[in-house]
Symmetry: none
DNA sequence: TATGAATGAGGATTCATTCAT
DNA sequence: TATGAATGAATCCTCATTCAT
């Protein structure tokens, strides 16, 4: 599949720019599969196709690599969502749907979806990473979702709910879906397919939000 | 041969049968706080007030102790719920409420609530433990909750929903609550109090289940 | 030579009290032979007849062991000298002679004599150890020697000399003797035997101290 | 392809012949500061302003560089002394004085004075270097000093002493002065200034050598 | 000639497990 | 049964050395 190497393939080639990403990718896979402590740097190096020492050219130590894995794989997902929220002009229910389904489409099949599991498992051991994740990911995600819910409420599309508390509840099933895939994936045959799970989730959430008297409030009818 | 014991040895002196329980209790705390790999048996022994060697009198090895911790702290919770479901005679909404609030009251402030976090983190490394937990805890919990939802639907109290998929979604926020407390507890000041979270959760769930035409009678149509 | 072991000799025996000393002795030998960095803890353990892990039962790490080696082998030598000075009643020249020859007899054939070499080599890398050695060994030795010289001067046995500066000079050849033995021992065939070296040293020192007009009486003039 | 160089590139640009010298100078500093093992070639390269690979263009390996450092910084000092001895026409006491003070003036403030410390520390690990240093430096220095002492004795200026043994003793304080500066420099505030130390040294040495009956022997009165 | 990315052997350290007491 | 000293395999990390560029 690769371009065929020259006859005398060198022991190694220099690819300074590519290496960090490759290492992070390899580390992500292994951290997600085995957890932080059970992941040997030897294995990370092997999977990245480099030697053990090379890791230390780009990362100070195991912890530093771990943090790089988290930091490097976490923001893109959010940005995608925030962009969508910013520019969406349909109904809020549709926005929720697209947000949720798009998120899963983007990361569901990826190891990136295993990061929440990692964070949950290691938050206690890496307090500053926990704080980073909490502030830069969780709070932002909550904030984004909160805005979406408010949008629906203000438009009279959703009933009046305590948005601040609800967002936590509403996001939980999504996090769990990601977590689940990377812990019980093996032995859960009973688990519904993610698509069904998400459908059920959206059904539940939107039902619970539906305004029984959708008196058009405000001027906020950005109907498509 | 031994030094003669005091004549009136207190009846409640540490019975030798209590040892395993004490060890398990100590191990539970540490596993939940630090995770499996970061927990040293030295520390478990110290917290249990025994010597390191003693652990091996009761447990084959660290993994065995880990499994004992999980197995020993997981069934009581379920049984409580199942008993409640079996004997409840009020409305299904009330049953849901009591189930959820009772569960949290029972375990919320306990380290037991940290077990899901542990399982999530280590499922990949201990497949048989994962299977045990999945079969004996998750499936039973799902089954129990499913029965409750069916009860409501059949009574016409809840609308017709795809119960089999919904239970997964419906349980997720509860698991997340338990998980959260033992990972981001430290740095989340924004997190709502569990009571508010659960209230919001019940509000959402029950709203989404409410039957808009609750005229139907009991023992009614199990429509496909 | 040892007591014959039982037929089935145990893999190890427990000798908590003896171990630290044995380890320090083994470490002293190797540190002196090879220097700090070139000494592998594996080798220390092997020479002490214990396993690698055992070292860490008694010492925090390599540096800690190093410091223990220095601290544990340094004070006895001084104490011996100080005791002698305190109680000596002969001429000051004889005191100097006994001090010097006794010191060498005590430590000359020992690895302890290699400690100055170690300290000299590693002072820069272990500043706190250097300070300890400086304060607790060097300053005390200087102080002791200074007292001896003053004793001779005040008795009119030695000429008036700038004692404070002289002690440094006077001790140097002794330190060098110890250092030499553990660096150029191998290749120096030309080196005089320690006995001859010390004889020459004493001859030089005492000659240079001899008072040309030794008529003065005791408890005499502390001329400025 | 490169940016065009300035038209008049300075003639005294770093000649390639200078490279080894610069590397040796950088290595000398670091070896003296930290010792052989604790000196990283990375740091040597950095201080020399070259890349790590460049070291290997000029030196086979770390050991080779170490030897070059020693060999390259050791002979000049001797030669200066030998020249002085050869041509000196004053009294032997003056010769001793000039030799000693000149030596310190020449190297005292230099890292070169740290080489004895290095050799002492590493002699055991580099036997051939030790032999080289012993034969080419120590023996030569002893020989030179021995000639000076003989000169004084033969001239009747110094008393009859066992010169062969004395030289070792007599050189020791000088070596120690050099060694000291590069180990306890930091924490020795009590240490006398080198000038005072040397004055005291010369006072002691020359006092001990003074001939009480300076019967002019031989024809050897090269008085100034 | 010069560079510095890549290598990998080597060593310090940890900790689950064993076993003499 | 209980102890905790002793073990040694496992793993992180360093740094001298190599080599593609």
């Amino acid at each position: 599949m690769n371009a065929p190497r020259e006859k005398s393939q060198p022991r190694w080639t220099r690819r300074k720019d590519a290496r960090p990403e490759e290492i992070i990718a390899a580390a992500l896979e292994l951290f997600v599969e085995r957890g932080y402590a059970s992941t040997r740097l030897d294995d990370v190096a092997a999977r990245a196709g480099v030697s053990k020492g090379t890791l230390y050219l780009y990362f100070e130590n195991k912890e530093d690599l771990f943090k790089a894995v988290v930091r490097g794989n976490v923001l893109p997902v959010l940005q995608h969502g925030e962009l969508l929220v910013e520019n969406f002009s349909g109904s809020s229910a549709d926005l929720v749907r697209q947000l949720v389904l798009g998120w899963w489409e983007l990361t569901g099949s990826t190891k990136v979806a295993g990061i929440p599991k990692l964070i949950i498992a290691e938050a206690g051991n890496f307090p500053d990473l926990a704080r980073f994740y909490h502030d830069e990911v969780i709070l932002r995600a909550l904030s984004m979702f909160r805005r979406v819910l408010r949008r629906g409420v203000e438009a009279g599309e959703f009933r009046e709910v305590g948005v601040d508390n609800l967002v936590h509840v509403a996001l939980a099933p999504l996090v769990m879906l990601a977590v689940w895939r990377h812990s019980f994936a093996c032995c859960s045959r009973e688990q519904p397919e993610p698509e069904n799970y998400l459908e059920s989730y959206l059904d539940m959430l939107l039902h619970s939000l539906r305004n029984p008297q959708p008196t058009e409030k405000k001027h906020a009818r950005k109907k498509k």
